[in-house]
Amino acid sequence: MDKIPILKMSDFLLVTIQVDLYDQLAENLESDLINMVKKYNSHGVLIDISAVSIIDSFMGRILGNIAMMSKILDAETVVVGMQPAVAITLIELGLPLKGVHSALNVEKGMALLRSKIHNIEQDTLTDDSSTE
């Protein structure tokens, strides 16, 4: 059975999709990823789709689901490296990928995740101080 590898990098999970996904593979990725978020207490998920040549409504829904599920487990999702032709097609198809953050490349995606988590930590810190 094929499997998309998920790498743990400190607080984050890193997924690079390098093959064309069929439905079962995408669904497995979704559940594996959500389980890993819980298992490793991750605060961010970074999905590299630079090698993905098409995203149809099914794949788009999976990405949206991953983002929403991670969100309620307190993790942010960033999708990086989308090809321009894929972006054009997604919008014409009518799939705006709500709730999914995006960045141009892995480096910027990592920076975005860090800043989001940093902000949340700072917010909680300031909240604590204001209640004291």
Binding site: S53, I54, I55, D56, F58, R61, A85, T89, E92, L95
Partner: protein
């Protein structure tokens, strides 16, 4: 008049047939020199339609043709299944309508991605969807 230059036929009966089918569509599109954006649109449309055929029609035959009309070249895709058919085509073409658990973007979204779109369906007999993407369309 549309002339068929090349024809390819694939049986789609399981999920794993989708990826090879998409690759075949891509090969045809590359061969006629279709640009990357149109290629991506065509393959995405193909992916949506082939999934519909599997999910609602229980699989069927997918035909890929290289066609030409006057000076224009393009790819024509035909999907025919012997499934339950579509009861209300105008409803099925509406954004956001679905009988399954999907987003309901498949048919209307696909129509936006291709140059020509035709859907014929008879309840109890099956559905045939034909789309054309012109090289520069």
């Amino acid at each position: 008049m549309i002339v068929v230059l090349n024809k390819d036929e694939l049986r789609i009966i399981k999920e794993q047939d989708v990826v090879p089918y998409r690759n075949r569509v891509k090969e045809h599109a590359v061969k006629i020199g279709m640009g990357l954006v149109n290629q991506t649109k065509l393959i995405t449309a193909a992916s949506e339609l082939v999934r519909n055929m599997l999910k609602y029609g229980g699989g069927g035959i997918a035909i890929i043709e290289t066609v030409s009309k006057g000076r224009e070249n393009g790819i024509r895709l035909i999907f025919s299944d012997k499934g339950p058919g579509i009861k209300d085509i105008s409803l099925a073409m509406k954004d956001g309508y679905t009988t399954g658990r999907s987003l309901g973007l498949g048919l209307p979204g696909t129509k936006r991605l291709v140059s020509e779109f035709n859907l014929e369906s008879e309840e109890g007999k099956g559905t045939t969807v034909t789309v054309i993407k012109w090289k520069n369309g």
